[in-house]
């Protein structure tokens, strides 16, 4: 028997399978099923369908593949008090905090730019010709006859004393042209080893060939008065 009551009953059958039937609906359905074999058969069909769908579409928790761990953004921890108006009243102004540093950086930058723009001549090597004519800035004239110690000038044992300017190039020229060949001078004072044999060429000049005086290279003292004028000016300009 499949009349309109059975059509209404079909909906109750499905809900009954789902276990969602209200008590009054359950009573109504049971009353109908008692006299309708077709609906009892249909009820079995829906129970089978429910079980099959549960098996086909159901998922056990252990079947779910692991998902994650997912990277989580760092939570923002801003307290409501900091968002309130006037919350920054007691805090130092960041601009004022770094203002001295910014001022110092600006001054350094200005000094650097000024040094680049203003020509000072610093950094240019002095030419050798001018060294013999001019006295270095800040170097006072020495009294005539002063003996300058080579160790003093090289090692700077007297830092406050005026330092003569020695140009290696000029020394080289003087040594070749005007200075008498070095006599036996040990490499180190107190060195017992025999002095190094001088090479035969160029032929050594006799000591008497030196224009004036005697300059003993390697000794600690140089007699400026006994030095040739040109040599003295080249080696010790301004003396």
């Amino acid at each position: 028997m499949n009349d309109h009551r059975c059509d209404d009953c079909e909906e109750l059958l499905i809900v009954q399978v789902d276990g969602e039937l209200a008590p009054e609906e359950t009573a109504l359905l049971e009353a109908h099923l008692d006299g309708c074999a077709a609906c009892r058969t249909r009820l079995e069909e829906y129970r089978a369908l429910h079980a099959a769908a549960g098996a086909a579409f159901g998922v056990r928790r252990e079947e779910v593949p692991p998902a994650g761990p997912f990277p989580r953004p760092a939570p923002r921890t801003v307290s409501p008090e900091r968002c309130a108006p006037g919350a920054d009243a007691g805090r130092p102004d960041p601009f004022r905090r770094f203002a001295p540093l910014a001022l110092a950086a600006a001054l350094l930058l200005a000094v650097g730019v000024a040094r680049l723009l203003v020509p000072t001549g610093a950094g240019h090597p002095p030419d050798a010709a001018s060294l013999g004519r001019e006295t270095g800035p800040g170097l006072p004239e020495d009294p005539p006859g002063r003996t300058v110690s080579a160790i003093e000038t090289v090692d700077g044992l007297e830092p406050n004393a005026p330092q003569p300017v020695i140009v290696p190039d000029a020394v080289e020229r003087v040594g070749r042209e005007d200075v008498a060949p070095a006599t036996a001078v040990p490499a180190h004072p107190g060195d017992p080893s025999p002095p190094h044999e001088p090479s035969p060429a160029p032929a050594p000049r006799p000591a008497a060939a030196a224009p004036t005086g005697e300059v003993r290279l390697g000794s600690d003292e140089v007699d400026l008065d006994s030095m040739d004028e040109r040599t003295r000016r080249l080696l010790f300009p301004g003396r």
Partner: protein
Amino acid sequence: MTTEEIVERYGRYVLALCRQQLRNDPPETHEEICQEAWINIHRGLPGFDARAKISTWLYTVTRNTVYAFLDRRRKREAAERAFAAPESTPPRSDEHLALRLALEKIPEEEQKILLMKYSMELSYEEIARETGLTRDQVRHRLIDARKRMRIHLGTRDGRMP
């Protein structure tokens, strides 16, 4: 709601969606695409509009993940077919596949509710909360879904496939 909480609550639903839409594939593929769907869900969670139902959004993201996978596979297989001999694989014909085919033929909204009910074992009231429908609307959609599936399965004579 964090991704971990969504996985805990909807993990079975997302896997059921993958199984349904990839019904001819092995379980390994279901799990692989399910994990890919969760990555997409995690990435898209910051942009999720909280006014929408999360179950609907999960359904959309999962479906798009499956479609992207099917598209990739179709292109890869087309490239492989160009160099390999054709291979015929008989279609699976078990009870689960018949049910999935029947589910595929009913309206999409009924599919979602039916999968939600069976995968997450939710009551009418819980499905109503998840979907935003009323309890009576859920009840009627589930009734209609079963009626349609029964017709598609051909169980008028009382036999299940």
